[in-house]
């Protein structure tokens, strides 16, 4: 719920700054490892958007896959499940490169 509140605050701030009267769509990107459940975020957002410029806004959530990279051999690694070693070379020197995103990409408004 507090994530939905922060999201709505950003949307309303942007709407005011661009002097629009109605927000129709809010597009957010959520990484697979961001600890955010899209259906819960939508549920919370829909509850609190009532009575605001965003009351008719549709929340569009794009889920970003969790990816990593191996520092030893440079391989790109699918981190959808926790991975502890590089599947290519076995090195443990691996890093999560994407999957923790949680941001408002764009909004559509009138």
């Amino acid at each position: 719920m507090s994530i939905a509140q922060s999201l709505l605050a950003i949307v309303l701030e942007e709407a005011q700054r661009h002097q629009v009267s109605r927000v129709t769509k809010v597009a957010v990107k959520v990484g697979a490892w961001a600890n955010v459940v899209p259906s819960s975020l939508t549920f919370s957002f829909d509850l609190i958007k009532e009575g605001t410029l965003a009351s008719e806004a549709v929340l569009e959530i794009e889920q970003m896959p969790a990816q990593g990279a191996c520092h030893a051999c440079g391989a790109k690694i699918d981190m959808a499940q926790p991975v502890f070693a590089c599947p290519e070379c076995g090195s443990k020197d691996i890093e999560l490169t994407s999957g923790q995103e949680l941001y408002v990409d764009h909004i559509e408004a009138e």
Binding site: M1, S6, W33, P82, V104, D105, H106, I107, E108
Partner: protein, 216 residues
């Protein structure tokens, strides 16, 4: 119709506050820990044991996060340590705004160590940076050895892992080595201690380490 590019982090308000707090902590020379575990892992018992051993060695204070009641703050205060209670009224984690309030009565310059006990929860507290120097994960053996792989975010970010209630190992199916193997893989730099607040085992190693970390 207008298409407005935003590109803003949803947690930016919290992260701004975290950066402010981090600066205040550094300026006051106080080290700050964010203590995270599931409910009942023994965070408050660990605090009681840790703080009583640190008496006369470090100047400590505690911020207690709970959904309701000030029971934990009273337990900590009984150890002779200043404790400020945050009642989140339903929120499952602490955030920067709650912390700002709780910091008001504290004189950070008079402290060496501030421990923030987060709300019992292995998920949401990890997303809300409080400006701490380090996260400490507490896991009790009764919760099962699968927790680090089920909740990897906390165990990857924690600088210290405390495995609590090891006096109960003979009675539970918990593979201690599996916990450590998973956590080492998630975060090879992590420091780990096996402890029991009941028997006292392992606590002086943890407290000695903590004291030198704070002074270091």
């Amino acid at each position: 119709m207008a298409d407005i590019n935003v590109g803003r982090n949803i947690l930016e308000a919290n992260e701004r506050l975290a950066a402010e707090h981090r600066q205040r902590f550094a300026a006051a020379g106080v080290k700050v820990l964010n203590l995270i575990s599931s409910p009942g892992a023994g965070k408050t018992s660990l605090l009681e044991q840790t703080l009583s051993r640190l008496a006369g060695r470090l100047r400590c204070a505690v911020i207690e996060g709970d959904i309701q009641t000030d029971e934990d703050a009273r337990r900590v205060a009984a150890c002779g340590v200043r404790a400020v209670q945050i009642e989140t009224q339903g929120a499952c984690h602490l955030d920067g705004a709650m912390l700002s309030q709780a910091l008001q009565p504290l004189d950070l310059n008079a402290l060496d160590l501030l421990i923030i006990e987060n709300v019992g929860n292995l998920v949401c507290p990890v997303d809300f940076d409080l400006g701490e120097d380090m996260k400490v994960a507490v896991l009790s053996v009764t919760e099962g050895d699968d927790k680090p792989s089920k909740y990897p975010a906390l165990f990857r970010e924690a600088g210290v892992l405390l495995v609590n209630k090891i006096d109960l190992l003979p009675y539970v199916d918990c593979d201690l080595e599996r916990i450590h193997r998973t956590c080492r893989a998630l975060n090879p730099q992590q420091v780990a201690f096996d402890v029991s607040c009941k028997s006292g085992e392992g606590l002086s190693a943890w407290v000695d380490w903590l004291e030198s970390w704070v002074k270091g």
